[in-house]
Symmetry: C2
Subunit: 146 residues, 2 copies
DNA sequence: CCTTGATCTCAAGTTAACTTGAGGAATTAG
DNA sequence: CTAATTCCTCAAGTTAACTTGAGATCAAGG
């Protein structure tokens, strides 16, 4: 059981080799090294990366994803209980997100009805969420996640 | 009817003045200039910016949002028909997104059941969408939008 | 009229999430 | 045992979406 090479992982996940190395610097995978200094991964790393890919499709920032994965054992396969727990947390996040989208859709339906010509009563224009400024850099990812 | 200053717009939308100027370079607003070279906006620009903010919360990239707004008249208030049309398109996008999230949630439910211990049958691991590589830069926003 | 305060322009910095490239070793197929 | 792959590290480039700063001008209250 020599483990998987980074190329194997790339082939099986569809990720670029460079991306997998990048994820390592963010604590998402923690491969072991062989005699020649090459990375060797376990099958559980396939699962970690799949989770990352799924979560990213939802717009979650890497840091948050890494936090979700942090409690799992880094080198061994996690137990069924481990995965069940993190899956449930993830599910909660998805539910929140669906709720937010549904809410926005309903508001938009109102806008379609009114033609959005009245600013005072427009749900899109008055989203009931005020300011959320912190630091510099892109804002919208944080907004998605928040 | 002198129009709104950029500061007015910032106060009423919650956006930073710099952000509004930035949006101008991306064709999202097209203010007129007064004698002294200062920007003057109309009330319809409030609506444009609100739309941008709402769409961004959903993770849509600015370029796509700009494209949605492009068919609207830049300096005059759009007609009710204009807004209804773009609202409907937007709604379709929201629906797609809700569907994708719901789908993922269902898959995840399967994973919670199985403990995600079987890689071959894991819905998260086999998302039925293969590769989508184009150019450099961040990938996940494109993935969201795709 | 004069002093704040708001704007202007333009260049450069920032964060996230990666990719690309250079120069050099380790693996593996034949 | 080579030759071709694959992998290594490290620095630097890229895109999106803004922010920050400098130096200068415009506008508005007293």
């Amino acid at each position: 059981m020599a483990g998987l090479t980074i190329g194997d992982l790339a082939d099986r996940t569809g990720l670029a080799v460079s991306a997998i190395r990048f994820y390592e610097t963010h604590g998402i995978v923690a491969p072991v090294r062989n005699a020649g200094g090459h990375r060797r991964y376990g099958r559980h790393d396939l699962r970690r990366l799949s989770f990352v890919m799924a979560a990213q499709k939802l717009g979650f920032p890497l840091a948050e994803i890494a936090a979700h994965l942090a409690p799992l054992p880094p080198h061994k396969a996690p137990t069924k209980a481990d995965w069940t727990r993190i899956s449930k947390t993830f599910r909660r996040d998805i539910d929140d997100r669906i709720a937010a989208l549904t809410d926005l859709r309903d508001k938009l339906d109102g806008c379609i009805g009114c033609g959005c010509l009245s600013l005072k009563s427009c749900a899109l224009y008055n989203p009931a969420d005020a300011k959320g400024k912190d630091g510099s850099g892109p804002r919208n990812l944080k907004q998605i996640a928040g």
